[in-house]
Structure formats: C-alpha cells, structure tokens
C-alpha cells in the first residue's frame, strides 16, 4: 500500500504505523513502531497533521491468536484510531477501514450474492466475526458523529497472495485443503494486488461508503483444490472441528472456527458498487487461485526469494536520517 502511494507525486508524506517492521522496501515512508492498540496514534496525528488514515490492521482470521488479543487489536485498536481521527481540532478528513466479508457470516439462508446493505443471517458465533461486527458498528457511530469525514469501509473476501499468510494460503501452500464431506461450497477470493489497489483507489479518490471487494465469479471449493493442485482433506459433517484438531496441532491443516460455516455454505458478495466507482479488478476469483498456485510452484522449484532489498533500505535510512548527510544538496 505504501509503495503504491509513494509512486504518486501528489502525496507529500507517508507515515507507517505498525507493530512489526515493514517487509518491503519503502523509499519515502517513515515508519513508527507502535503497540497493537494504537494508543500512541492520537499524539502522532496531532504532531504530523495527517489528513488520511488507512486502517489495515484488523485481524481477519483467528489462527494462533487468543480472543483477548483479537479484541484488543480489532476493537480497541479501532476505537483508539477513530478517537484520534475525531479528536477536537483534528486534521484528519478521511478514514479508510479494511474489513472482511466475514461480517456477512455464512448460513443456508444466505442469498447467492450479498449486497453491502444485505443483512446477515447466520448467528454470530465466532469471536472473530463478533469483533469485526463491533468494529463496523464503531465506524458507523463515527460516521454519525462526524458526518464531515470521508469514511470508506472495504469488506474484502478471502485474500490470496504470496505476501499474505491466511489459513487458506497456508493450506494451499501445503497442498492439503480441508473440506467438509458432502459439501462443495462456492467461494470467492481477492488477489492481494487488488486489495492494495482497492485501498489505494478509495484513498486516492476519496470515495466514501461501504464496499465489497472480491474477484469476479464464485467457484466451488473442489475447483479451488484442482486449480491449486491441492488434495481435499474431507472432515466429517458432524463436528468437523474436533476431528480436525489433531491434524491442526500437527500443523498439517489450518481450520479456524470461522471457516466451518464457510465450508458448508460458501459466500458470495456483489462487488458492483465498487466497480461503478471506476475500479477495475486484475484478477477474478479463479484467477487469484491460479496466480497463487503458480507462485507456489515457483517457490517449490527455486525456493524462497531471498529479500534483496535490505542493503538499499539501510542506505536509504542513512540518507534520510543520518546527521552526516548534508540536507538540501541532493534532493
């Protein structure tokens, strides 16, 4: 995201905030390490007079994270972020929130395509969904309290890509895809490049509103396995979670609780609203799967790409921050 924005000469300054160092080379972005609840954000906003906050830190899967931490990150983090954005005398005018289509749940009563205003049918059983719904409620309150803000909420379908680790990408990499026997749900994916481009699109053009973001089309889970060259690992329809437990502990599969209803009923979201704002996807749902499968094939053949940018980054850091560099001479 930051890389995409750096390419725009109209953006004067980019400030990154996160708990980990960025994993990609960033030329102009300044990065600040913060705790996971963004408690420091208020001061940063005041100090830097930013006008846009892009909130991409929400957890959208519950693997390896306790429910308390999940709550801290998603709900409290968003609370602090919105509080900082809406503080008196704020310079912020735009907030972009990256949410997930998990807010729709998955149940047998669902329509084939969820529109942004379609309500959810499934009872909220998992803590992940509960936290995401709570976050969206916070955002809704924020919009009501601060109507002058441009607020965009992007609900992303399952993200696939080599740079992102989700239960599904992990399963696809291991070529072992859990499924529930007797069910072959239709699912939707979005490629990580499209995720970044969608965030960039609404940020750059300041488009307010709630938008579904997912690649075109739905495909059956079995077809996902076939495109990715993965084997299906059938779990019994009754209590699949406890059956999967030993395999999860062995690290053979990942099967977070929010996947269970998805693997029965699937989910599809209508993305026409975002497309009408002028956004063009580069990948369909099936295309996202294929692109990841090809990247995985490459990785199997030549091993992981070694990060080659560390050196340049260090040099860049030196130019930016070292007192030895004479400012104003070169650029």
């Amino acid at each position: 995201m930051a890389q995409a924005l750096e390419a725009d000469p109209n953006v004067e300054m980019i400030l990154g905030l996160g708990t980990d160092e960025p994993k990609v080379p960033l030329e102009r972005t300044e990065f600040v390490r913060a705790d996971q609840t963004y408690s420091i954000l208020n001061r940063i906003v005041r100090a830097t007079q930013v006008d846009t906050i892009v909130h991409t830190f929400l957890k959208t899967n519950s693997v390896g994270i306790s429910s308390r931490v999940l709550h801290e990150i998603n709900v409290i983090g968003t609370l602090n972020l919105l509080a900082a954005a809406g503080a008196p005398g704020t310079s912020v005018r735009q907030v972009v929130v990256k949410s997930s289509t998990h807010v729709y749940g998955a149940s047998e009563k669902d329509p084939t395509w969820f529109r942004e205003e379609t309500g959810r049918n499934a009872p909220v059983r998992t803590r992940l969904e509960r936290s995401l719904i709570e976050v969206e409620a916070l955002v809704r309150d924020f919009i009501m309290d601060n109507p002058q803000f441009v607020v965009s909420v992007l609900r992303f379908a399952h993200v696939l890509g080599t740079d992102i680790e989700t239960p599904i990408t992990a399963d696809l990499r291991r070529r072992l895809l859990p499924c529930i026997a007797g069910f072959d749900p239709l699912v939707q994916f979005v490629e990580e490049d499209d995720v970044v481009r969608a965030l960039e699109h609404v940020t750059r053009h300041r488009i307010p509103g709630i938008f579904n973001v997912a690649g075109a089309g739905k495909l059956p889970w079995s077809e996902v396995a076939s495109i990715a060259g993965a084997f299906l690992f059938p779990l019994p329809p009754i209590n699949p979670r406890s059956f999967a437990r030993p395999f999860r502990l062995l690290g053979l599969i990942q099967f977070p609780v929010e996947m269970e209803s998805l693997l029965r009923f699937g989910r599809g979201v209508d993305t026409s609203r975002l497309i009408e704002t002028g956004f063009a996807y580069r990948y369909s749902s099936a295309g996202a799967v294929e692109s990841l499968a090809q990247a995985n094939n490459l990785r199997r053949a030549v091993g992981d790409n070694q990060p080659t940018y560390r050196y340049e980054q260090d040099v860049e850091q030196f130019f930016q921050h070292s007192p030895a560099v004479v400012r104003g001479v070169d650029g």
């Binding site: 890389q3 390419a7 007079q49 490049d193 089309g217 495909l219 996807y281 990948y283």
Partner: protein, 337 residues
C-alpha cells in the same frame, strides 16, 4: 507488496487525464506541495481537491474515461459450475438418468407448453405434492428437454444443510429461495425459475388433503414477479400426490432430526422404510400450463401494495385450484390418466 512499475504508469496516466480534462483542476492537483498527508501503516493525501473546489467526492473519478490500463481479466475456471452452483454437465447427466423415469414410469404429459416463453424471464408457479415431491424434477426435465432452456428450481434453504443432497441439488439446478436470488435470476439474467408458493406445507400434507392447495405463503412470489417485471406462469400438476402419498407424519422425530417434516408414506409400507423413500408409485403425471399472468405495475420498486399482492396471489391460487379440479374431473384413472 505490489510492483512499482504498473502503479507508476497508472498514476501518470491519471494525472495526464486530469490535466487534459479539467484544465485548471489538473494544475490544482499538481500544486499540492504544502499539504501534508499520511496515515497509519501507510497512506496518503492526494489532498483537498474536493475540499477546495467544493465538489462532491466523485468528480475526481475516471468516470466515463475508457480504462486503457485494464486488460481482460483472466478467469481460469476448470468446472462449469455457475454462480448458482448449477453445473450443465451434471444437469445433463441427471436428465439422462431421469429420462426413462419421466417417459416410462410417470409417462408425463404436457398441455400448453407453448405458453412458456422461449426467451426472457418468467416465474413458474406450481402446486407441490408427494412426500418427496416428484413434481419439481418432472417440470424441470420437461421444459429443459422441450424448450432447451434451463430452469432454476427454487427450494427451501433447508436443503443446503444436508450433506451430499444439498450439493447435488444445487448442481442440478436448485437455488435457495431468497428474494435476492429470484430477482437476479428473473430480472438480471432473464431465466426461468420455478417456485412452489405452498412451500413445505404442500408436500407435507397427508393424502386425505390431496389436491387442496395450501396457503400461498405471504404472496412473496407475486411481489418478486412485479419487481422483476416478469409474468407469473401457473402450472397445475396432477399425479404427484399419488406417487408418494403421506399416511401420517412423525412430528417428534422430525424435531429430533431437525427436518421440516418426517412423513410415513404408503411407499414405506410397500417397499420398506429405506427403498420407500426413493421408490415412487407409477402414477400418471399430467401437467397443464395456464395462461401467463402479468401485472400492470412499475418494476423495480422496493415495495408493492400488500393488498394488491395478496389479491393477485389469491387469484392465482384460485385459478390453479380450479384447474386442478378440472383435471381431476377429466381423469379416469390414477395410473393411466
């Protein structure tokens, strides 16, 4: 995350476009060096064009600008399963298997098939009967064979919860009955879709109540047809009642199994409790298509007059009931028609 090169080109294209299209507006975008932008984790500020010029947020969009930078999206599908879960391949296999049953067992006879349009959406509305209804496959098979166009059968969402059955039903053209689904099928895609407004009340009634139409839900099917701007085509089916007549229902067992109803049928007595769930009696099935009903209302509205909807639903129900009585009067034998 993303490669820099394409983004750079996108950006420059956009700026060129801005400069070309908006003249002074383009310059505005360029003189932004004193505006600060930033964000959490990343972010930006193409800043303030909208605040300064007082425009709505959207004029900045590349509206109506041909998108030169979007190559056709590659969609490497491997199966022919469509967005509804229907697979034409599996559907044709199902038709091949069902064909002999349709021709030799039920000896299905149609009347007025020409009233079903060859193109465009229409909502087919039929009576529903038999413990495990034999009318839906007969109607879908007949229309698909004769007219060569797909029929999507709308069914209670309960189906989707059942392993294997739910998936097969969906691949064979079944769609969960949801207003959004019906609207998309009828209005956006101009498909034929088949509904049974009686819902599970139709097939769950016992043999003593045969050919007595149940309440037509809440008239939702009329509202869908009005909103989609398609005709309702009522279809009367005779014979399905006798193919699997219900003697009584076991409500307690149904509750335990979380089924809408658990029937005990004459077929269970004749063929045993397992085979009896799939073996139909060879009742002659006759299907009569009634004249399409159109509504003189604007399509696309959010709501329609409830009284009008209920009147139309009741009107269609009465016509269907009369037709059933006519057909039964003319029928001389349950087995030979």
């Amino acid at each position: 995350m993303t490669s820099d090169a394409p983004d750079t080109s996108r950006t420059s294209q956009r700026n060129l476009r801005n400069a070309g299209n908006t003249g002074p507006g383009g310059a505005e975008v360029i003189h932004q060096s004193n505006i600060k932008g930033s964000s959490s984790r990343s972010s930006s500020a193409s800043a303030s064009a909208e605040a300064r010029s007082g425009r709505t947020p959207s004029p900045n969009l590349p509206v109506a600008v041909p998108r030169v930078d979007s190559p056709p999206v590659n969609d490497p599908r491997r199966s022919d399963v469509d967005e509804w879960g229907r697979s034409e391949h599996l559907r044709s296999v199902a038709r091949r298997l069902y064909g002999p049953l349709y021709r030799r067992w039920f000896r299905v006879e149609w009347e007025g098939l020409e009233k079903i349009p060859k193109t465009g959406g229409a909502l087919l509305v039929a009576n529903h009967a038999g413990a495990i209804p034999s009318d839906a496959p007969a109607i879908m098979h007949g229309i698909e064979e004769e007219l060569g166009r797909p029929v999507y059968g709308m069914a209670d969402y309960f189906f989707r919860k059942v392993p294997v059955v739910g998936t097969l039903w969906s691949r064979a053209g079944g769609v969960a009955a949801h207003p959004d689904n019906a609207y998309r099928l009828l209005h956006d895609q101009g498909q034929l879709s088949l509904v049974f407004p009686e819902g599970t009340k139709g097939p769950s009634k016992s043999y003593a109540d045969r050919y007595r139409l149940r309440r037509f839900g809440r008239g939702g099917f009329v509202e869908i047809a009005m909103r989609s701007g398609v005709p309702v085509i009522p279809i009367a089916v005779v014979g399905a009642e006798e193919s699997m007549p219900i003697l009584f229902r076991m409500n307690g067992l149904a509750k335990v199994l979380k089924l809408p109803y658990f029937p005990v049928t004459a077929n269970d007595l004749a063929f045993g409790p397992l085979l009896g769930k799939v073996a139909y009696f060879p009742a002659k099935i006759k299907i009569r298509v009634l004249d399409p009903v159109t509504f003189d209302v604007d399509p696309g509205l959010e709501r329609y007059s409830k009284s009008r909807v209920m009147d139309e639903a009741e009107h269609i129900r009465a016509k269907l009931q009369d037709t059933l009585h006519d057909m039964l009067r003319e029928r001389r034998s349950v087995w030979f028609g």
